[in-house]
């Protein structure tokens, strides 16, 4: 099935969600029928500390326009300290991307608990809006991954 048949450009957003809080928060958003754009695709990871900066760059390489990472609120990590490491790692990565002149709004970290379905949907709506406004990611993609318009 061809993706994006219609010509209207839609962003591609990858969301890394930790299994214990944010993925459950996304589930709750679903159970509560809180809609957010279909452009957001969730990848489950055990903990935000499992998210390797390489995954995020990989997503951009492949044509993602925005990457968001969600984890348990600091202090609530299922593994007690995972998100603290994730927090530092992501801060550093984002800072470097910004330093290289890549739009910093394309990356984001949000802490979403299992109870925050509402927040999850709100965050995704907001992020998708930001990315849509930013437009296509041209600075960090691999041209070889661009979809050919044939």
């Amino acid at each position: 099935m061809p993706i994006n048949e219609n010509k209207e450009w839609k962003p591609l957003i990858v969301a890394f969600c930790c299994n214990w809080c944010s993925y459950a928060g996304a589930d709750l958003a679903g159970t509560s029928r809180l809609s957010y754009p279909a452009e957001v695709k969730i990848i489950k990871v055990p903990c935000s500390c499992r998210v390797n900066p390489m995954f995020i760059l990989k997503a951009f390489e492949r044509g993602a326009d925005g990457v968001i990472m969600c984890g348990c609120h600091p202090g609530d990590c299922h593994y007690s300290t995972g998100n603290y490491y994730a927090r530092r790692r992501m801060t550093m990565l984002f800072s470097m991307l910004d330093y290289l002149g890549i739009d910093r709004q394309r990356t984001r970290v949000e802490w979403v608990s299992a109870a925050e379905g509402q927040k999850f949907a709100a965050v995704m709506n907001d992020f998708a809006k930001t990315i849509t406004e930013l437009g296509e990611n041209v600075k960090l993609g691999d041209l070889r991954c661009k979809k050919q318009q044939d």
Binding site: R62, R144, K146, K147, Q148
Partner: protein
């Protein structure tokens, strides 16, 4: 022999660029490398580009073919053979010689279609080296920096306020014919003086008198187990800077890139100094840096001449002398096997 005033170089370049793509040394972000000439591009007369001119015929990465899957079927699309007509200006004698060495690799059977096409579609304009530096030792490999006629289509000299121009091959003649409007005829006096001046400097070059008598196609047994390799390779970092700036290194790896748009098969430069060079299922056949280091120099000084009528795979450009992070280079290798005697 023709000349054009240096001040009018850009006229010459625009003229050449009318029918062909022109490539010449350009300084960008502090480094000089061959680049495509466009109106306004400034020629840089630095002695040596960081990377050699080989990129022009053998680029660092080159797409060979694409695979596309449709359902469970696979479709293979060959990449187009390049047909751009090009002119390479400002090539030094050493780099010009390297083309001949590369030709014997890529244009002998099985012929490399991409390389051959580029080579056949190009005119090589060499420029004599007005100020060779201490790392130059092209003389050791028979290159004349004062008069780089060999392996060239057009030879040029910068002398006084002029650029002198002499076509030395059919291709060169044809090009000269095309652009004659901007050139003026000249005698050879100033060029001869320049040649003599360069030759005098060449005599002062400290590395230019090394002897290659220890090397050659028949020296495998004598050199392979020589004790010198331990010491020489000891500090080698295993990076590829020597290889990637070398005008004669021609090893490449073929890789597949699985993108959203199908799979691209491309080749990219490889370096025998890399630990994963020619990696095979069982591992690598040269597990130590000493073996990898030895391979590079044995190839240039022994194996290559063995297979190419005694031609060494080094042109003495001295780039490795300048670029090696730990200052180990082919000159030191040659010397440690008695080359300085």
């Amino acid at each position: 022999m023709y000349y054009i005033e240096k001040a009018k170089l850009s006229e010459l370049f625009s003229k050449i660029a009318e029918n062909r793509s022109l490539y010449l040394p350009v300084k960008k972000n502090g480094q000089t490398n061959f680049a495509h000439w466009e109106e306004g591009t400034e020629y840089c007369d630095d002695l040596k580009t960081v990377k050699s001119a080989k990129d022009h015929f053998f680029p660092q990465t080159e797409s060979l073919m694409h695979f596309k899957t449709e359902g469970k079927k696979i479709q293979i699309n060959q990449d187009k053979i390049p047909d751009e007509k090009t002119v390479l200006f400002g090539v030094r004698g050493c780099d010009a010689k390297s083309f001949k060495i590369l030709d014997s690799v890529f244009m002998s059977e099985p012929q490399d279609a991409f390389y051959t096409a580029r080579r056949e579609n190009s005119v090589v304009i060499t420029t004599a080296c007005s100020s060779p530096d201490e790392a130059c030792f092209c003389g050791v490999f028979g290159v004349d920096p004062a008069d780089p006629k060999a392996d060239s289509d057009v030879v040029t000299w910068f002398a006084g306020d002029k650029l002198y121009w002499e076509a030395v091959s059919e291709k060169g003649e044809a090009l000269t014919e095309e652009i004659k409007d901007v050139l003026s005829s000249s005698d050879e006096k100033e060029v001869e003086e320049e040649k003599a001046r360069i030759s005098e400097i060449t005599k002062l070059l400290p590395l230019n008198n090394m002897s290659l008598s220890a090397f050659g196609g028949d020296k495998t047994d004598a050199l392979f187990n020589a004790p010198q390799w331990d010491k020489l390779s000891e500090a080698c970092l295993g990076c590829g800077s020597c290889t990637f700036v070398c005008p004669t290194c021609q090893c490449y790896d073929v890789r597949d890139y699985n993108g959203a748009n199908g799979i691209q098969r491309y080749r990219c430069w490889d370096s025998c100094m890399f630990s994963d060079f020619t990696m095979m299922a069982h591992g690598t056949n040269r597990p130590t840096q000493k073996q990898r280091f030895r391979q590079r120099f044995m190839h240039k000084l022994v194996y290559f001449p063995a297979n190419n009528n005694g031609e060494f795979s080094c042109v003495g450009c001295g780039r490795c002398v300048a670029r090696c992070p730990i200052s180990m280079n082919i000159a030191k290798v040659i010397k440690s096997f008695g080359g300085d005697k």
